[in-house]
Amino acid sequence: MEARPSHSRAPDWAPWALLLPSLLVMLVAFVLPVGMLLARAFTQPEPGWQNFVLLWERPVYLQVLWNTVLISAAATPVALLLGYPVAHAMAHGSARTRRLLTFLVLVPFWTSLLVRSFATVILLQRRGPLNTLLMNIGLIDAPLPLIYNLTGVLLGAVQTLLPFVIFPLYSSMKRIDPSLVPAALTMGAGPVRAFLRVYLPLSLPGLMAGATFVFISMLGYFVIPALLGGPRQTMVGQLIQDQISQLGSWGVAGALSFILLAITAILLSVLNKLVGLKAVAR
């Protein structure tokens, strides 16, 4: 095996030559821009920590940062609870079920987030289809406040986040031996106990990866809180946009971006330590 004819080997520099264009584009159009934005946090309007001090001193900014974390933390369990049974059906159901559900879960991935949010705005209006339906079947007497509040943001966000929990969960679950739960049942465990003690721990890597992806994607959301939330659901992405386009304060925008990226990086490295990012990659 070792002694291959020399002409059959690509030269050592070949992979680097293939990689070089991507690396160049990434450096010039991603690393450099993001780096320059982050640098503004420490250089504008003058060198120093003033932008971070400003964030610390203005309760409004801290409130938005805190809201962002809370809203993302609220969306995560909702997405997990809805996604878990779907991933389970994909992993252990028939081939037809799997194909159907895969197609379904890919729909939010392929349809525009903006357009979906617009559609959700229509759906959740005071006199919109959902309220009309609920009133017609007699479940409620008056329209529910479904939009321009936390409910609206969560209902809008979770549909776009579902693929991020379902795919890692699915890839974790399909590696679970389907005979383990029946085995636990024959040994006298109840279905709940068999699930909690046998199945759930085995699906934990997917669960943790899904939770992390949902949380960090949601942290950067901008369109959904702007369209479906109220003033109290303002998130940090909107604040960054406002700082730049309304106030021209690139320094504050840079500082907010710095914090946002730091949270993302910490969470990803924790996930990497716990389960390994390679293990959850599709």
Partner: protein
Amino acid sequence: MRPWRALRVLVCTLVAIYLLAPLVVVLIISFSSAAFLRFPPPGYSWRWYANLLNDPAWMDAVGVSLRVLVPAALASTALGTASAVALVRGRMLGAGVIGAFLMAPMVVPSIITAAGLYIIYRGLGLNGTLTGMVIGHIIITLPYVFATVASALRSLDPRLEAAAATLGASPVTAFRRITLPLLAPAVLSSLLFAMVLSFDELIISLFVGSARLRTVPVQIWSNIRGDFDPTVAAIASLCFLVALTALALEALLRRRNGDRE
């Protein structure tokens, strides 16, 4: 176990309704005869679609979107495929780290990438240009192409290339005649997805575009923040239709590829 299975079916059905309801609602609204939001609509008409075709702002936006997505998707497919081949087959030192680096735009919020590009472009005079927009879209779509092609490449048996080499094929020939045809469905589906992603991209286009250079999402964005306009429902329905067609096409590609394995 039966009640649990019933619960699973129930949740799956709810999720299906939840994911599809917005699409259905917007489709119905787009055929409404009323200029205001009423559900169900008082009557049906094509007037909002006619509006769309007669309004040069929308038609210009479609033109800009197409002029951005075609070069951006082609370039990111070429770059992503080349990188995947290098990292999966190249036995390079630090391939894992470089791979993670190429995926980074996926986890960095696009508002940060967009604001950064705006800064760089200000110096280069690229704001409000097609070139600037295309480069931004390449960055957004590259990670997806790379991930798709790399995972397809990992599931290909490297012994096939080795066999071709033993039979006297040069590395380039072996790649062109053996690997590339086997990889083609993944490359095509990532091209398709890159086009869809680029067509949907809002935030980069919002930052580096201009009043004269507006993509469809930017045009939608500036039209949904004021009064309700059913014309947006018409373009939204068309976007859904295009996306679902692309998704169905991709599913078909994947299935054909799966059958062959």
